[in-house]
């Protein structure tokens, strides 16, 4: 953020107020109105909110500096400011789009049934969705670390009940685990804020960025806040709550949780490391963070490949994708000054987050339709579904393709940026991890598509007709992710020259070939195929060739699954949380 | 001077009753006797403390507040001990 010491509300700053006030007001009104009006109010809010987000997106590059609004006219440190820079604007826009698509999709699932005045699930769902939106907007533009804490809690309280909307014991337990672990994370974040206030007398991000120096209280604060936020983001090994929560929630809720909610705390890690204290964490902590990310990619992907149920597979793939988001940190450290720089690597990370938000939301929606149509989501039983629900499967496939990083997707641009940064900073090992991540993504996409495209034993009859509008919403999100690479990001995120967003076809195919080939190998080696593999003649031949390799890979896979099960025990996860906090403290101390 | 001595004596006496009540709470064998120790100590102990402090407050409003504190504690204590005793007699487990 630019250097403003005595700042004032900028032109267009009131848009930031509206971005929070609109969903909050809508949620409160919906609460009173009740019944069918809840849905109408929520749906009516969505175009308005999108318009506000678009207005912010238009306004930010015009001023060339963040939009600022001083709440109550009080300037920090006494008052609280809202600020929207390019990153905030982009995140708010994508949030508005994803929320809108989820809203369109959810009309079928969360409609007040005819004959009843008000039903529980729709009432809660629409209000919670609006609250998630308000909280995320606040997270993206809050200028004060404590205000951000309240926003983060708002986000958690909106997200947790979504998990258990169906009221089954299994999802209630998932929701409780989620809530308790998230609370543990936010308390650690809160400890950090008090230490920072005690040291610098302010919690304002811009003021702090001028005052921060590496004293012990600041280091302790940074380590605890980072660990707390990682717990809320479910970065490996702090992911105990994510798979059951994201897989157990209703499809529309899963899309919001997986696409949007985890990005809130991720965004705050970025704020903390890049804006509040860019000089502090240092290269060692950055390597550590990315190492956790790499572990998340391996664990998440391998365990995803071993899942029987589609929604659990997607949930574990979210785990892997979250890991991917953290690979940018060591690449963003300037080798000379050891400072975090808002350059190409950060842009790559943010683009990955945006691509994942849209693609994963679309994939969860598609999976929800498949679930609804079949009455189950067993991967082994997906045969013939591509014929019965072509649009849903297409949406799923396009979402997956865009995550692999094929042009012109946003993830393609992200990957190019990250690889370039890795080359520039001479950290080849992260380039390897980035490529491996793409291969893994490809492998579980292939696993699902392999089953979905396989012919069924008998024609699939859908249990319920799948709403066209829902399929359209899922497809729109996937397309959105696929086309994100074509957007001119220059005004919002810094894109270094030399990265073509629209590369020559041949070169693009060449770069795309590696992850696909690697993905095929991984999918064959590690995937849970059952009878499915036998149906594909070529694969059978391959299996015969690599039989022993597959046996070793499967043993490895089973081991990872077991380790994952252990790590997801409550006490083990708490243990990991403390270890992560202490290790970050030590790494930052060492990097001083 | 006389006021100081009065306050010291009264508050000390109150503290003694609290101490005795606490010892009773810890040492007595069952719920009812423990309750007995506690309520006696609370009522009398707090009464003495309030009495000791009465002479040191400024104005009648402050004194009134002190007395109100004592009365409210009496009321709450009486109610709660009744309820606990009732629960104990019905044989419900207590903390």
């Amino acid at each position: 953020m630019p250097q403003h010491l005595s700042e004032a509300t900028t032109a267009g700053g009131f848009l930031l107020v509206l971005a929070v006030v609109l969903p909050v007001t809508a949620a409160l009104l919906a609460f009173v109105a009740g019944g069918r009006r809840v849905e109408w109010i929520a749906l009516g809010t969505m175009p308005l909110g999108l318009a506000i987000a678009v207005a912010i997106v238009v306004a930010v590059p015009q001023t060339g500096a963040p939009l600022v609004y001083l709440l109550g006219g009080w300037a920090p440190p006494l008052g609280v400011a809202l600020r929207a820079d390019g990153r905030s604007a982009v995140m708010m826009a994508i949030t508005a789009v994803v929320i809108g698509a989820i809203g369109v999709f959810a009309r079928a699932d969360f409609r007040t049934p005819a004959g009843s005045v008000e039903a529980r699930a729709p009432f809660a769902f629409w209000i919670l969705l609006l609250a998630i939106w308000a909280a995320l907007n606040m997270v993206f533009m809050g200028g004060d670390l404590f205000t951000l804490y309240v926003a983060l809690e708002l986000l958690t309280f909106a997200a947790v009940p979504l998990v258990s909307l169906d009221g089954r014991g299994e999802t209630l337990q998932a929701a409780l685990r989620y809530l308790l672990f998230a609370l543990l994370g936010s308390v650690l974040y809160l400890v950090g804020t008090v230490l920072l206030y005690g040291t610098y007398g302010t919690l304002d991000i811009v003021l702090l960025s001028h005052r921060v120096h590496a004293g012990p209280p600041t280091l302790v604060a940074a380590a605890l806040m980072t660990a707390g936020l990682l717990a809320k983001t479910a970065l490996f090994p702090l992911h105990l709550w994510l798979p059951p929560a994201h897989a157990g929630a209703p499809a529309a809720a899963s899309a919001a949780l997986s696409g949007l909610v985890v990005k809130g705390s991720f965004f705050l890690v970025v704020r903390l490391w890049f804006d509040v204290m860019p000089a502090l964490p240092g290269p060692t902590a950055a390597q550590l963070l990315a190492a956790l990310g790499a572990a998340a990619i391996v664990f998440g992907s391998v365990v995803a490949l071993r899942q029987k149920r589609l929604k659990l597979l997607i949930a574990y793939s979210t785990l892997a994708q979250i890991g991917y988001l953290f690979l940018m940190f060591p690449l963003a450290v300037d080798p000379g000054s050891a400072q975090f720089q808002s350059g190409g690597a950060l842009t790559g990370g943010m683009l990955q987050a945006i691509s994942h938000a849209t693609a994963k939301a679309g994939m969860f929606l598609a999976a929800g339709l498949i679930y609804a149509g079949l009455g189950h989501d067993r991967i082994a039983g997906l045969g013939g579904i591509a014929r019965a629900l072509p649009i849903s499967v297409l949406a799923f496939a396009l979402g997956g393709v865009s995550l692999i990083g094929l042009p012109p997707s946003g993830a393609y641009l992200a990957k190019a940026l990250l690889l370039q940064a890795a080359a520039e900073t001479q950290q080849w090992w992260w380039a390897v991890v980035i490529q491996t991540g793409g291969m893994f993504t490809c492998s579980y996409l292939l696993l699902v598509l392999g089953h979905a495209l396989a012919p069924a034993d008998k024609p699939v009859t859908l249990r319920v007709p799948v709403p066209r509008i829902g399929e359209a919403a899922a497809l729109a999100l996937a397309m959105c992710s696929l086309l994100l690479g074509l957007v001119p990001w220059d005004g919002y995120l810094s894109v270094p020259v030399g990265i073509p967003s629209n590369p020559p076809v041949l070169k693009a195919l060449a770069t795309a070939l590696w992850p696909i080939l690697g993905g095929i190998v991984l999918a064959i080696l590690l995937g849970r195929w059952g009878q499915g593999l036998a149906r594909i003649p070529v694969a059978e031949a391959v299996v015969a060739v690599v039989g022993s390799a597959r046996r070793i890979a499967l043993a490895l896979g089973r081991m990872l699954v077991r380790v994952d099960g252990t790590l997801r025990q409550w006490a083990a996860a708490g243990f990991s949380l403390l270890v992560v906090a202490i290790m970050f403290g030590a790494a930052m101390l060492a990097g001083r | 001077m006389v006021r100081d001595v009065f306050t010291i004596v009264m508050v000390a006496a109150g503290a003694f009753f609290f101490l005795a009540g606490t010892v009773g709470l810890l040492r007595f064998p069952d719920t009812l006797t423990r309750l007995h120790a506690l309520t006696k100590a609370d009522n009398l102990g707090l009464g003495l403390v309030v009495l000791g402090l009465l002479l040191r407050v400024q104005g009648p409003l402050g004194a009134l507040k002190l007395v109100a504190v004592w009365l409210l504690v009496q009321l709450a204590g009486a109610t709660v001990s009744q309820l606990i005793a009732g629960a104990a007699r019905r044989g419900e487990p207590s903390a």
Partner: protein, 313 residues
């Protein structure tokens, strides 16, 4: 070592001992009782730290309402306590103890190394106090300088209630929250519940009113009102209202809505969102606080009552 120092140290030791007991106690019920006394001791600590506003909040919410919430839960979960759940093994426990202690020590070092003289916003808060016309600096921070936090926190409360309600079984949606409390209409609890509320309501409103210039405010006052309501409900003198009642829902959001309306008025009139025109600051703030007290009392009461459990007849 001075006398005050010795007292403070003694208080700290007792506080930690009780804290340790609540963690180590075998029975859940005993642990909860320990927690309530811990909260009361903490109130003393807050007074020692010259934070009377916080002391009131801690006594009312941190110890009182949270204690009531946990005791109620412990009573309802008692049936499940018979089958104890297995905790982590001894080695893991020890490791976690060491790690927790490490974090605590790091935190203690950080606290000891906080800069001296400490940075403070107290002068800035004092300087700008004229803008609101209120004498209580904490209220000034809550309602003016950091009004956004307070507004968001109200939304958090409302949302927590939506979350709690969303847990109701579908067939009782719109019905009465929590179990129906019954007790002897001539019993001592019913007597208490008739005697105390008139006094409690006066005290609650007094604390709200005094909060403008002295310790107190909407939260502390609202909590006392909530406690009175809960007392009357627990004594079986009245039932909690069904969650589908329109008037109830209005009460539950009137606080944040008035806050938002006044805030947007500030935006409209040209100053800023959540800015109060100097001439009308105090009456506007009191209006907000009054509305918030109502909402807080109702929300806290219903949060304790739980999700709907009984059908609307």
């Amino acid at each position: 070592m001075t006398m005050a120092m010795a007292l403070d140290s003694g208080l700290a030791v007792v506080v930690l001992a009780v804290a340790g007991w609540t963690i180590a106690a075998r029975g859940t019920f005993a642990a909860v009782v320990g927690f309530v006394s811990y909260g009361l001791l903490l109130t003393l600590v807050w007074v020692r730290l010259e934070a009377v506003d916080v002391a009131l909040t801690e006594a009312a919410i941190g110890s009182g309402l949270t204690g009531a919430l946990l005791i109620g839960a412990a009573a309802r979960l008692r049936a499940g306590e018979a089958s104890p759940v297995e905790g982590p093994g001894v080695v893991l426990r020890l490791e976690i103890a060491v790690l927790s202690a490490t974090v605590a020590v790091a935190l203690a070092i950080a606290v000891l190394l906080l800069p001296d003289p400490a940075p403070t916003l107290a002068p800035a808060a004092a300087e700008n106090a004229t803008a609101t016309g209120l004498g209580n600096p904490v209220t000034n921070v809550l309602i003016a300088f950091r009004a956004m936090d307070t507004l968001l926190e109200k939304v958090v409360l409302a949302l927590a209630l939506v979350g709690v309600w969303s847990l109701a079984p579908d067939r009782v949606w719109g019905g009465y929250p929590g179990p129906r409390h019954r007790s002897d209409p001539h019993g001592v609890l019913a007597f208490f519940a008739r005697l105390l509320p008139p006094l409690g309501i006066v005290v609650g409103i007094y604390i709200l009113w005094a909060g403008a210039d002295h310790p107190g405010g909407a939260f502390q006052g609202g909590t006392i009102l909530a406690a009175m309501w809960l007392l009357v409900m627990m004594a079986g003198l009245t039932d909690a209202p069904p969650v589908s009642r329109r008037w109830l829902r209005l009460v539950l959001i009137v606080g944040p809505v008035v806050f938002l309306v006044v805030g947007l008025g500030g935006l409209w009139l040209g100053d800023a969102f959540l800015a109060y025109p100097a001439a009308h600051a105090k009456p506007l703030i009191l209006t907000i606080e009054f509305a918030m007290t109502l909402t807080i009392a109702a929300t806290l009461g219903l949060l304790l009552a739980g999700p709907p459990e009984r059908k609307l007849s």
